[in-house]
Amino acid sequence: MDVTLHDTTPEYDSPLGGNLPAAETEDELRLEVATQWQLMWWKFRKHKLAMFSAGIIILYYLVAIFAEFFAPWERTQYIADYVYAPPQPIHFFADGKLDLHVKALKFERDPQSFKKIWEIDEENKIDVGFFVKGADYKVGLHWLPIPYINDLYFTTDRHFFGAKDPTQPMYLMGADKSGRDVLSRLIYSTRISLSVGLVGVVISLILGIVLGGLSGLIGGWVDNVVQRMIEIVMSVPDLPIMLAIAASVPLDWSVERVYFIITILIALRSWTGLARVVRSKFLSLREDDFILAARLDGTPQRRLIFRHMLPSFYSHIIASLTLALPGMILGETALSFLGLGLRPPAVSWGVMLQETQRVAVLALYPWLLWPAVAVIIIVLAFNFLGDGLRDAADPY
């Protein structure tokens, strides 16, 4: 009989499962000496959807950082003749050979309404290529307001993809009311829409940690006041008040100031959840043995907080922040969509969607809804990533 009765290689599905066999294989030794962050990474890695979402999010942020490179057109570039031109489908083959191109557009006037009726011009093809020449742009640190450092940049005119002849129209996602390329504007939009979330997260992180920390560490009446404050903030329907504040922003304010106000506004609605997490963690940690041991050792309060308590729930904070991000992105989109958030010339997904408020526009030019698709994908990705991070946050 070839049946092995004593199978010495232990089987376990999860390297992090509770009952590990006693046999000391290399894998287990690895587990025992692994740091907390390594364990979390191994657990997170198994969450396929979260990994995939992380990839999408990285892609989005790369596009946001290098928007000039990825966008075939400049942000404000337009062709007046191509107002509301429909999307040109991309073709991969011509005459049986690999040949990336789009078909040109032509239009006729409706004899009665004089409206343009667009048609695909099957005869004329516009060649599309990668790393084509287009408008000049700068890459580097030129946007920093620090002298000398902002000299560190170079100028290039290469774009990731586009029409080989930059004067030819190429509207992969159609054109908007001024004949601008929806795809290019979508790419530029990621910059504002995604950074609003990040800045907002930093603001709510500070508020949440300070107030939640005070509440959990000091306790007593401070805790009571902060808790009541959180309850009130949570029970106030935020949208009407946000609308009221946003509506009071003067029309002559610069884009940067409006951006700043909007970010604070959306941060103000999400710090409460984080403050609650921080408070409950501090409360339970205060009673923990290792904290008591450190305190008996004479560790000063400051070191106790920053060296022993905070690091034990960094991961929870990161997970909560990831789950708060989509709400912030949506907040900016909703405000801008209503015309109370960012205003042109700033371009965000919400600003782009403003045009679709009128049902007639929406019905005739449905490609203006593309920003909505971009929003939904990134919000889903953040939700999945946050879910995976939350599961991995406690690897023991």
């Binding site: 309850e231 949570m234 049902v359 019905a363």
Partner: protein
């Protein structure tokens, strides 16, 4: 129990008071007031022979020259004592009348949305917990995620586009044309219900998705507890067992979530009404904010917020009735 009730009630009053202060302060934020707008409009239309103290006169007439806290005190006193919300500069009517016209519809939509959330989330949540890891469970989880991810106004836009494209009519408004200005009647009510389901689905979807997840998680926790095994070993039929103990237990958070679902429902109603142009408070408050018609805006914001806080209060009470442990705290 009474002590708990009283404490909650005082918290509620305090919250409403804070909201009234915030509302009033926020409404006063924009530089200038309605009189500034009015006078500049008059000058633009050619009336440049206004007496120099004209602006001050009008301000005194509306009481706008008094200090902020006096204005606030008067405003709050009128609301609490006389039920007056001030005067609408734009509509040239009592703000109360405008609010009362629109509020019932807002209220109906929100109430129907809560019902919708409950009716849909309860059975689906139970089903996907009992059949954990089945195909239906995965499907529900997936749809739930998407429901949570699509914001109300985008959902409204997409539905609007689909209805326009494929059903040849835009889903805007709440009444058919013949009923729009007609007085209330049974036929008008039926017509309203026919239109109401669209905003209700749009507003309720996110809450439903959230509640399904909560319900599923809660029930899964309960189903693994020893008392369920005990009941099963007694020979209790599966259906009776499920409904008698774990579901009842899992219902607790169901009631408490109404507290946090309500603010998002009210907000959802607001933004969806603006997009779909429903005759609710949404478009009115939106335009009032843009035109600085402050008493209308402040009145609506205050009422919506108070209703939300009231809803949370009621859900707290219900929870205390359901769960004796809370009363003892």
């Amino acid at each position: 129990m009474w002590q708990y009730f009283l404490r909650r009630f005082i918290y509620m009053l305090f919250t409403v008071w804070i909201i009234s202060v915030i509302t009033f302060a926020v409404i006063q934020l924009p530089p200038g007031d309605y009189v500034t707008t009015m006078v500049s409009q008059m000058i633009q239309s050619g009336m440049d022979d206004l007496p120099p103290d004209f602006e001050a006169q009008i301000r005194a007439q509306y009481g706008l020259d008094q200090p902020m806290y006096v204005q606030y005190g008067k405003w709050l006193r009128n609301i609490v004592v006389e039920g007056k919300f001030g005067y609408s500069y734009i509509y040239r009517r009592d703000a109360k009348d405008i609010i009362l016209e629109r509020l019932p519809v807002s209220f109906a939509i929100s109430a129907f949305s809560v019902l919708f959330v409950w009716i849909v989330a309860l059975p689906i949540g139970i089903y996907s917990a009992v059949k954990q890891y089945s195909k239906a469970d995965y499907f529900v989880t997936f749809v739930g995620f998407i429901g949570l991810a699509i914001p109300n106004f985008l959902f409204a836009l997409i539905l609007m586009f689909i209805s326009y494209r494929y059903m040849d009519r835009a889903m805007i408004g709440l009444f058919s044309q013949e009923y729009e200005t007609a007085p209330w009647s049974l036929a008008k009510f039926i017509d309203l219900v026919k239109h109401l389901w669209i905003p209700v689905i749009i507003i309720g979807t996110a809450g439903t998705a959230g509640l399904i997840r909560t319900m599923r998680a809660n029930l899964l926790d309960e189903l693994n507890k020893p008392y369920v095994d005990t009941a099963r070993s007694k020979g209790l039929p599966e259906r009776v067992l499920l409904w008698k103990y774990p579901v009842r237990h899992a219902l607790n958070p169901f009631v408490s979530t109404i507290g946090w679902i309500l603010p998002s429902l009210i907000a959802g109603e607001l933004i969806v009404s603006i997009v779909l142009n429903l005759p609710t408070t949404g478009p009115v408050v939106y335009n009032a904010l843009l035109d600085q018609d402050m008493y209308v805006a402040a009145g609506i914001i205050l009422i919506l917020s108070t209703l939300t806080v009231l809803g949370t209060f009621i859900s707290d009470l219900l929870l205390a009735l359901l769960d004796p442990r809370l009363r003892l705290q």
